[in-house]
């Protein structure tokens, strides 16, 4: 049979979490099909058709899918499930919201946030905030899986899949979109940025958090935060890196004024190089950092900003 990947997109552009999920899907059951459900999202389907290894793109274009709410998406996926032996979604807030509903209705257990495909029925996934790795063997039958995208390489471009339009399923109408407040940023997306600079409670205020911006701009980095900084209201919730926030694995992760609770480490310890800047030399963050700089971040950050400028980073 085949596997089906639920595309991550905003009706305008396809997110690279999709490409990473395609990589995982191809290791479980080929060929791979991608479902693009949205409204006026033809361009997204065209982009998905170019992912290497994708055989077919299913395009469900209807107003009821504009926000990919869980209830209409459940009905749509159930209408398609018969044809697939695996259904996968990236472990984004969208994928996590939808897929357990599908699993429950199919009477199948879901495997959340896989890190590795050992064989088509055996997977590794993190438990206890990543402090243990569970190797799980699924029973025969359908696999319903969310994918920790930082653990898989993105499938490349160069595919030429067919795009097939499919009809919308009926919508119960018991849930509806009622508004949104999205963070606007010119910076790269937190989960796919090559460099991430995150701030913690040590920054002390929303105003001080802006010290990170100029450095992030010079390094083309995304800005993240610890739970403490989000709880304190310095930055919005979508900045949060950690067990229950976003998992990131950039080439460079800079933790500024973050002590390093296990819940935070869970979201960033797979980064290639970790830098910690903290005034407390006993902070646990230093135990995972490749380079530690002990000192007052209010002195270090301006110095870092200037040093980058003088080395030609703009």
């Amino acid at each position: 049979m085949a596997s089906l990947v639920i595309a991550e997109h905003d009706n305008a552009s396809l997110k690279d979490a999709t490409h990473k999920t395609v990589t995982a899907a191809a290791q479980i059951s080929a060929p791979v099909h991608v479902l693009v459900a949205g409204e006026n999202c033809g361009a997204v389907a065209e982009a998905a058709a170019k992912i290497a290894g994708v055989e077919k793109v299913l395009l469900a274009d209807a107003a009821s899918y504009a926000r990919q709410l869980a209830e209409p998406m459940e009905a749509l996926l159930l209408s398609l499930a018969d044809k697939y032996d695996a259904i996968l979604a990236p472990a984004t807030t969208t994928g996590k919201n939808i897929l357990p509903r599908v699993a429950a209705k199919l009477d199948v257990g879901q495997i959340s946030e896989i890190l590795k495909v050992i064989s088509p029925d055996t997977f590794e996934r993190p438990i206890y905030a990543g402090n243990a790795i569970e190797t799980l063997q699924a029973p025969s039958g359908k696999k319903i899986i969310t994918v920790r995208t930082t653990a898989f390489k993105a499938a490349g471009e160069g595919g030429s899949a067919t795009v097939e339009k499919i009809a919308a399923s009926s919508d119960s109408g018991n849930s509806k979109f009622a508004g949104e407040a999205l963070s606007k940023s010119e910076r790269p997306d937190l989960t796919s940025a090559k460099i991430v600079i995150s701030g913690g409670r040590g920054l002390g205020s929303a105003e001080n958090f802006k010290l990170l911006d100029s450095i992030a701009d010079k390094l083309h980095a995304a800005v993240g935060a610890s739970r403490a900084a989000v709880d304190a209201g310095y930055v919005p919730n979508d900045y949060q890196v950690g067990q229950t926030g976003k998992a990131v694995a950039p080439d460079l992760y800079m933790a500024v004024g973050i002590s390093g609770a296990i819940q935070h480490l869970a979201g960033m310890k797979d980064s290639k190089v970790i830098v910690a800047i903290n005034k407390d030399e006993d902070a646990p963050i230093f135990q995972v950092a490749d380079y530690g700089l002990v000192g007052d971040l209010f002195k270090i950050l301006p110095e870092l900003d200037e040093a980058l400028a003088s080395r030609g980073y703009k």
Binding site: R67, T93, Y128, T135, E180, N237
Partner: protein
């Protein structure tokens, strides 16, 4: 309106988890156990609904060993009215948990279910969504704020791009995120009062749910360890190192 709050007894969030040497699991002997933090937020939200006169009764349910009744007591001390313990010493997978909860919902007929978005032990993030699907109810997951009206709820959700508000018809399931509220500490008089509140005991079999695991856990292993690196003298040395590593 009755509100049902499923809670889970998990390893305390401050405990550093140790994997057993034989890779059969994590070491839970003599380890502090607590209510899953997201479920505490769920209890708090339900109790606040009752205090505002929007909920008539808050029913706490937990699935687990006898000690899970302590977790229920904690929730009763926070303001829950009564408890249901579905007693089992087995590991219960999320789908089976959802089926047990569905059986309880069928019997109790609550108008709203609030539970944590994930448990911090298995980090599955499945039960709320599965329960909603089995009931054919709508859901508001990862809740950041709630406005309850007559017959509907406006739930603002923490999503990857920011915040999203959905309006769901009741009955519905809501799962909590971190910023929904700050759970209270139970006062001593309330802890004493909670001891007298009823907890009914049932078994998964009483509810007609087969909890035989579907998955086989082959092993639980340590994640790759990161070794701490070096302290650098200042910004110039840091940038030299990062340049040499090719990451800037």
């Amino acid at each position: 309106m009755k509100v049902l709050v499923p809670v889970k007894r998990v390893i305390d969030y401050n405990v550093k988890v140790r994997v057993k040497a034989d890779q059969s699991g994590v070491d839970l002997a003599n380890v502090k156990m607590s209510m899953n933090p997201f479920d505490e937020i769920a209890v708090e939200e339900a109790v606040r609904l009752k205090e505002k006169g929007k909920a008539s009764e808050v029913v706490i349910v937990s699935i687990g060993p006898q000690q899970a009744s302590e977790t229920i007591r904690t929730a009763l001390a926070m303001g829950g009215d009564r408890g249901i313990l579905v007693k089992t010493d087995q590991m219960v997978e999320p789908l089976a948990v959802a089926k047990i909860l569905k059986a309880i919902v069928d019997a109790e007929q609550p108008g709203f279910v609030i539970t944590g978005k994930q448990a911090i032990d298995d980090d599955a993030n499945q039960v709320g969504q599965m329960l909603a699907a089995l009931l054919g109810w709508p859901q508001g997951t990862f809740a950041h704020s709630l406005e309850l009206a007559d017959g509907s709820a406006k739930i603002t959700r923490e999503i990857d791009g920011g915040l999203q508000t959905v309006e769901v018809k009741l009955p519905a399931v809501m799962t909590t995120d971190l910023r929904l509220n700050e759970p209270r500490y139970a006062s001593l008089p309330n802890i004493m009062k909670a001891k007298k509140k009823p907890i009914e005991e049932k078994s998964p079999a009483d509810l007609g749910v087969d909890i035989t695991p579907r998955f086989k856990v082959l092993k639980i292993s340590e994640p790759p360890k990161r070794v701490g690196g070096v302290k650098v003298s200042g910004v110039p040395e840091l940038l030299d190192k990062l340049k040499a590593d090719g990451v800037i």
